[in-house]
């Protein structure tokens, strides 16, 4: 059980309407830029409110217009890896990684800082500040920050778009290990067919 949603979101002069049936593994949202893929992730994370529909993640109802349920972002447990990283510039890498970990109830955590740093190969970066990181390093830290908050699911917005070819494979392997070793449902946004075919069990096309 992972993502189960049917939503309509007003966006400018049109409406983004998406239905995703529950499936295990990675669900990819695929389509050209500008069709509202990121909007769907924002809706699941609770940053954008749909006009109607429902959002259920791992069996938990996060939003249901008919039932009047709309959990705030901090209670949704959706680890969000943003396209632009959004690391906190005034904190060290370690401060970024432990930000959500400290806020998570202990029972919800499934990794320690050391485990996450090791998993992502960023142990040597802990004392650095975000602005000194390369694109690939920053993306790993962003993934680690989301994992350490003990999420029930991950939302990933084009995590490879800012990386050059040979760094992509490293991050792709990390994502596959999150899928296989951690068995975390992932909603994955991309406009790259090859990437989607390699990763996803279910592909939802937006046009």
């Amino acid at each position: 059980m992972s993502f189960d949603l049917a939503i309509e979101v007003p966006r400018g002069d049109r409406t983004v309407s998406v239905t995703i049936a529950p499936a295990s593994g990675i669900t990819a949202l695929f389509g050209p830029s500008g069709v509202g893929k990121t909007t769907v992730l924002d809706v699941v994370a609770g940053l954008v409110r749909p006009s109607s529909g429902h959002v259920r993640v791992a069996g938990e109802t996060l939003f249901d217009a008919a039932a009047g349920i709309a959990l705030p972002p901090e209670r949704r447990g959706c680890g969000y890896v943003f396209q632009d990283g959004r690391l906190f510039p005034h904190m060290s890498v370690q401060g970024n990684l432990t930000y959500g970990w400290k806020l998570a109830p202990p029972a919800q955590r499934f990794m320690t800082l050391a485990e996450a740093a090791d998993f992502l190969g960023i142990t040597a970066l802990l004392d650095r500040t975000p602005r000194t990181l390369s694109g690939g390093e920053a993306q790993r830290v962003a993934i680690g920050r989301a994992l350490l908050s003990g999420p029930r699911a991950l939302l990933m917005d084009e995590p490879l778009s800012s990386l050059d070819e040979n760094r992509r494979d490293g991050i792709l392997q990390v994502i596959e290990r999150i899928r296989d070793d951690l068995a975390l449902p992932i909603l994955y946004v991309s406009h790259d067919r090859a990437e989607v075919d390699r990763l996803a069990a279910q592909v939802v096309e937006l046009a």
Binding site: E74, H90, G100
Partner: protein
């Protein structure tokens, strides 16, 4: 070196300026946050009113304060009835006048720093489990600190130099409202007090330059991670 009486004037000036910015800071932050982050009816009007002390002749600001906080003004009567006190001819009145004059500068500095902060960082904090309040306190507030510091230094310098609104509102009372600029003005009226004028002027220049240096340093320090 300044004489004992001149040191007392410098100390009074520092006390008035410090009280002025501490009084104004919470209000300036709240106004800057409203103007930077919220869209509401009357926003333009509020923006204009906040900037009034910057564009009005200070004497007019002082006169408005006098109307409101004077013996027969609404504010003056309320203070008298509630606390049995008055701002008239007191250093507290001088601090209020200086604080009002510093307000627009402080709001501008804080607002600029708030506007430079990527609001999406707060969204990121929310998805990591932070409530709206915690996201504000751990992300926005620390990132705005250099701007807040710059606002305090600017406001402090502006308060030290305040003349027109102060002399109009609370007059020129030795030991109460006679701050550095008022003391310099007074000494200029007295034949043979040129040495005193020089010493007080040097003290003003030194304090203002120190404030400016601190503000430059804060801006540079802030620019490192905010921009």
């Amino acid at each position: 070196m300044p004489t004992g009486a001149e040191w007392a004037i410098i100390a009074l000036s520092l006390k008035v300026a410090a009280a002025a910015i501490l009084l104004t800071l919470p209000l300036a932050f709240a106004l800057a946050w409203l103007l930077a982050r919220k869209r509401f009816a009357g926003r333009m009007l509020l923006d204009t009113v906040v900037h009034l002390p910057l564009v009005l002749p200070p004497v007019v600001t002082g006169w408005l304060l006098l109307l409101f906080f004077g013996q027969s003004g609404a504010g003056g009567r309320a203070l008298q009835a509630l606390f049995g006190t008055t701002l008239m001819f007191r250093w507290t009145g001088a601090a209020l006048a200086a604080g009002i004059m510093a307000l627009p500068l402080m709001v501008r500095a804080i607002r600029l720093s708030l506007e430079a902060i990527d609001r999406r960082l707060e969204s990121a904090a929310r998805t990591l489990g932070a409530t709206a309040w915690r996201a504000f306190a751990t992300i926005t507030l620390p990132l705005a600190l250099p701007g807040i510091g710059a606002a305090m230094v600017l406001g402090f310098a502006r308060s030290l130099g305040e003349f027109g609104a102060t002399i109009t509102f609370v007059s020129n009372v030795p030991g109460e409202t006679r701050t550095l600029p008022l003391a310099i003005y007074t000494a200029l009226q007295v034949p043979g007090a040129e040495d005193s004028v020089t010493r007080l002027a040097i003290a003003s220049v030194v304090l203002s330059l120190a404030a400016l240096l601190v503000s430059e340093w804060l801006v540079r320090k802030g620019g490192r991670h905010v921009l």
